[in-house]
Symmetry: C2
Subunit: 386 residues, 2 copies
């Protein structure tokens, strides 16, 4: 099997140059009724597609991005030359083989990468929504995606896959539109956010809202709450890595000291976190941070239901993937998904990958994931194509 490096370096294995497309709900309903009862519209979704939809429209795969992701999952962006966030997994002969499948990825609502979110213009005020943007849930995010899939005239998705919050969307799809999902691949995710997960998100939100430049969300065109947003991201980064991956990456290595100020970073890990925080500020909107983390925290597929009821009568086939060193979305949460499937007699494969990368593993363990996902997809695809 090719290594990650080869996937990226070999041009023949890339989807090549891609352009982000935009779909705005143009005809009624040009607005979406949200979980909260509020309405949002018009809604634009930024999305990309790779490969070709076959005649019977049976080969479409939807990839759902995680918290800070976007629609650009593979290839090279025509405008800025950036490589897709899961390029190693999406392309000719890769895990999501674009010679065989039609792959779709859209930016979520509430985001800031081309889809309607708090930084978008509010048609009523002609100013950015800011905190006038309604509270959204993972269900709302999926309902908006469904409009895109309808627009693409796909009646049944061959598969939906995603890690972390992408996995929540995948699971929500199965519950909201069971007949539209032939197979699903939830990776490093959960049926519901735990108090610890909520707590980490809450301190991120507090970091942003404590920044006096946040100004109650009204900072567009003014100074942005960059310190708060960077801090939120620093906290996030600790949770995405593992104790051991930090040790492997940094140890207790001391940065070269050039400044005498006492609380400048001494250790490499400190400098790294500050760098990651600062670079995040350039590409992400603070209010989107608030709205999307809240959507994750509200996520609870179980609610008052018993575990055996969540996936009752579901025909979707599951491949559940989790990583041993992921302490943000620990193994037991994936076990719970599997248990819910098994109790409902749903066809489920579970794989626990030995990785030291922590939660980030879903983006990094390409070789293992490719092996699992390729086999899973090909097997089901061969069944329907017979």
């Amino acid at each position: 099997m090719n290594s990650t490096k080869n996937f990226v370096q070999n041009e023949n294995l890339s989807v090549g140059y891609v352009e982000t497309q935009y779909y705005t709900f143009a005809k009624p309903p040009n607005e979406l009724k949200l979980d909260s009862g509020e309405k949002l519209g018009p809604i634009t979704l930024a999305y990309e597609t790779y490969g070709k939809l076959n005649k019977n429209k049976t080969n479409a795969i939807l990839l759902c991005h995680a918290f800070s992701g976007d629609a650009h999952v593979a290839g090279i962006n025509k405008d800025d030359g950036s490589i897709g966030w899961w390029d190693a997994m999406v392309g000719p002969k890769k895990a999501f083989d674009t010679e065989k499948f039609f792959v779709i990825c859209s930016n979520i609502i509430g985001g800031c990468k081309g889809s309607t979110g708090p930084s978008s213009l509010n048609p009523k005020t002609k100013k950015p929504y800011a905190l006038d943007f309604p509270v959204i849930t993972v269900k709302d995010i999926v309902n908006a995606q469904k409009c895109l899939i309808d627009y693409l005239e796909i009646e049944k998705l061959f598969s939906i896959a995603g890690g972390s919050m992408g996995g929540m969307q995948a699971l929500q799809w199965v519950v909201s539109y069971p007949d539209m999902v032939r197979s699903v691949i939830p990776i490093a995710t959960t049926l519901k956010h735990s108090p610890q997960q909520i707590a980490f998100n809450e301190v991120g939100r507090q970091a942003i809202m404590s920044d006096h430049n946040w100004n109650n969300g009204d900072y567009y065109g003014k100074t942005i709450p960059s310190k708060g947003l960077a801090l939120a991201r620093m906290i996030g980064h600790i949770t995405y890595m593992s104790d051991i991956s930090m040790k492997e990456k940094f140890g207790r290595k001391i940065k070269e000291k050039k400044q005498v100020f006492k609380f400048e970073p001494d250790f490499e890990v400190e400098g790294y976190l500050r760098y990651r925080g600062d670079s995040f500020v350039k590409r992400f909107d603070a209010n989107s941070y608030l709205y999307i983390t809240k959507a994750m925290d509200y996520f609870d597929l179980l609610g008052e239901k018993k575990l055996n009821e969540v996936f009752k009568n579901i025909k979707t086939k599951f491949l559940v993937i989790a990583f041993k060193s992921d302490w943000l979305y620990p193994l037991y949460q994936s076990h719970e998904i599997v248990k819910a499937c098994k109790m409902a007699d749903v066809d489920t494969t579970f794989c626990e990958i030995e990785s030291t990368y922590g939660h980030d593993a879903f983006l990094l363990e390409v070789e293992e994931e490719t092996h699992l996902i390729k086999h899973f997809l090909n097997k089901i695809y061969s069944e329907i194509e017979e």
Copy 2:
């Protein structure tokens, strides 16, 4: 065995009303040469003692407090009525039995509970030190404590115990003054801070320094950086608990909604963290937060040494205690202490306590700790008293 509740409720088991005392290094050297090469002085240490020092001065136990602790470890403070932070463990017939032992606890330098720290007056400027306070290390903290022990005319401590950063001090004592420590009880601690531990401390420091009221440390007599300090404490609290203890305490329970503002806390865990953050601001100094976390991050007893060299020729007897759900100071760090002891042929007992409380367990698992510590201390004490 009595439960925690009984320890506190039964007045006969309390050391009663206590008063904090202050010792200022009065005669030369009235200053301390620090690890950094800088000098600090005069130094005042706030301390409390319980029980009576015996004639031979063989029954003194030093308790070292954790990050945000103080000298008031047991009994009821005469001035404010507050109960000591480890009252359940210190008193007549308790783990540290004050009918038998003379127990000492002092606030660390760099702190803000009566010992010299960044909020103390700088004798040179007659203003609070703020960032003119020198960088300190755990070794410096211990060297200052040693002046207090010398002043109390104790040549050899019967034992030193402490959890978390208290454990680091205890270990440092053994290395710095091996002949002064008959036995040691490091609890939920480490030989050196890991990159993950440094990272969590660093985001706490960033939270404080990002608060515009921090003002480069110069906020005394002005508006304090309360938002940043509260945020730092919130992050800390997540790391002190465990995933499971948060689940047991909060679940996904929703707070009663009284406000309509979108990012007010929905979940109990959010409200709890905000409460803990806000109440911390009333009792702790932001600059002390910076200095003490830095001292923890610098802590590395191993350095360039091999593991078998750390405790070479040490005669001190060890009781190492760790907690299964403590992910901030994980088990493997206590295993490393034990391994270092065993490799140096040091008399060592190790106990791993089954607890769901996370790092907080060292303050809460009173029954288990009492059992272990009482037995350990009595056995050694009976040997020397024979």
